[in-house]
Symmetry: C2
Subunit: 383 residues, 2 copies
């Protein structure tokens, strides 16, 4: 096990009816900017619950944060927060609203062009933020990272700083009942791939981290189909929601190598083609695992045995089966795994390779052995 | 799954050579009281490492915190901290030093008799504390609880408040190499029982918590014997140490019922007989599981299958096997499971029952079905 720091100060307030807890968690006298997305919180009753819990506080609102939140949109919120001297941000929505609000938080006090936060600058301050999470997927409710897009340049970048850990996050599984099946399918796939990015690398003498990762995967396999079939089954939904939080709150990734190249490729497919984030992961991951099957051999065998019960056949056959079953799971959840399923072709492949090279990202992966040839091979298999 | 709050702001700094990290973690200008136990840190080099990392800070020292830290001793530290206006506490040692320091932290600003902190009063302030943990067992390095004894009344009580979460804890597995085998055996048993207190209750539709708990148990079974046999095997030792932290940092207990009656009975055996904490757990737990085998039936079967691979036989046979194997594991680690192994008799049983009744603790357990008759039955089996 490698040396590590495990630090996560977010208070996770989990369960049915917990939005009312907001009232005691928001600092007295705070001037709150409530951020949200396209307005679904007004249709499902969350907006009303939040407003009621915030009674007695000064609350401004900023709606319209889009999926894959845009720098251009967020800078409008930054301007509002600066001019109104907001001192607390409350994101109400899914991962995009939350990621966008993390950027707002860090940008408000940033000297210089806030886009630099996405290209390596370290913000020195951040306005305290919290969340009411309404879409289980990204884990943003309990981590310090965010992914932001820029329309003008078609770029999608991540940043992370402990300053933007939510002070608290309210996660009420019942408010997710009204989400469309596509969002739930995406959430399950997103959480599953978050785990695999931290687990399917190479052995690092970290049995606790391995078993925690496997526990989340097994749970997602069990409850994913159940919660898709019966959205109001609280047991299935609450465990799916908790899985999504635990998949990316830093816990399973301590002391072990991590990959994240499925995400890096997927981000390009989202920004260039407009696919949902999880759709890109379902397309890329099985092919990346195939191309990297030698590099990831030991963990692929462990994954096949412990998650899929694959114990028969040669090593090559067991690895192939593990990848086939992973792809089949994504498809069974309603996430096709080829670009052609979305009527998309290979016209962006050269641009993706150009970007990886331009950013000096190659070779990449946990062993730095994913080079241009392998990247092109993965992309070709995504067709 | 029940509603829950998951909150743990302690920064865990884990790995070989990490004590040097102290230098950047202690607040600038802090007046530090360094607390420790019987002086083993001076023999194993930890004292020197810590003092070096603290160069440039004002550091006072308070040594002599004993195993099962005593109120009487700790109040001397409180007096010192008050008169010297200490504003940061650094516990260097094992769970007893750390627990004692948590009490000191809460007692310094407490108005009234600080013993009330142990009998239900809620402290309103606490002096910030951190730790360098040298003995893997209690999990105190990453939780907000402490257990304190009082010599004058032969009482042992716990308290918990988020105010005493360590700001950070440095955990370097290498500094535990010099611990005697008995301490390591105790640590493995302590961590194992911490998990079982939160796991062996009744099903609560919490598969993530179950699997995390099982992951820690499986890891302890693997690395416990290895680290006892070869104390300097870093992989085994680091995973044993990490298991102990994860066993009682609040994670696996969220949203599920908890028992803790093995601990409650064990505390009495420690204070009345002077047994090590883990020795008492090894004695009590198998008997409590036997007496509560109907109440804990479903989880005992799950435990037997997933941890011990027991799939043959009737339910009663499988449960019996699971308990037998648990007892055998404790004994294989060097922890006898009967009072007679320590030449102790049954003369304290009436006093224990009297105390449980006097504190209105009966019936107890996760279903409130452990009554006086069952308590006497458990004690009788401990002989």
């Amino acid at each position: 096990m490698k040396n590590f720091v495990l630090y996560n100060p977010t208070k996770l307030i989990f369960g049915a009816g917990q939005i009312a807890a907001l009232a005691r968690e928001i600092p007295q006298g705070a001037k709150v900017l409530m951020t949200y997305g396209g307005g679904s919180i007004k249709a499902n009753g969350v907006y009303e619950q939040v407003k009621k819990a915030l009674e007695g506080h000064t609350v401004l609102e900023f709606g319209g944060i889009e999926p894959n939140p845009c720098y251009e949109t967020l800078m409008n919120a930054v301007a509002l927060a600066r001019s109104e001297k907001v001192d607390f941000l409350l994101a109400v929505g899914g991962g995009s609203t939350l990621d966008g609000t993390k950027f707002i938080s860090a940008a408000i006090g940033f000297e210089g062009d806030p886009w630099e936060i996405l290209t390596g600058a370290r913000p020195k301050t951040a306005v305290p933020l919290a969340s009411v999470m309404t879409l289980p997927a990204t884990g943003s409710e309990m981590n310090s990272g965010a992914v932001i897009s820029r329309k003008s340049t078609l770029e999608k970048f991540a940043f992370s700083t402990p300053l933007v850990f939510p002070r608290f996050s309210v996660v009420d599984p019942e408010v997710t009942y009204s989400l469309p099946p596509r969002q739930i399918a995406n959430g399950v796939v997103d959480a599953f791939v978050h785990v695999l990015e931290q687990y399917l690398t190479y052995p690092a003498d970290a049995p606790i981290q391995d078993r925690f990762a496997e526990g989340i995967l097994q749970t997602l396999l069990e409850v994913g189909p159940r919660t898709l079939a019966d959205p109001k089954d609280y047991n299935a939904r609450s465990n799916m929601v908790f899985s999504a939080t635990m998949a990316l709150n830093g816990l399973i990734g301590v002391g072990v190598p991590q990959d994240w190249m499925t995400h890096m490729i997927g981000h390009e497919l989202t920004i260039l083609h407009g696919l949902d984030h999880a759709q890109t992961l379902a397309i890329v991951l099985p092919n990346l695992l195939w191309v990297q099957r030698e590099s990831k051999r030991e963990k692929l065998l462990q994954y096949g045995e412990r998650i899929w019960g694959i114990r028969e056949g040669s090593e090559a056959q067991r690895i192939e089966q593990a990848i086939i079953k992973t792809r089949a799971f994504f498809e069974s959840m309603g996430n096709p795994t080829h670009l052609s399923d979305y009527s998309l072709g290979d016209d962006c492949f050269d641009e993706i390779v150009r970007r990886f090279k331009g950013r000096n990202m190659l070779p990449c992966g946990e062993k730095r052995d994913l080079d241009e040839a392998k990247l092109r091979q993965i992309l070709a298999m995504c067709r």
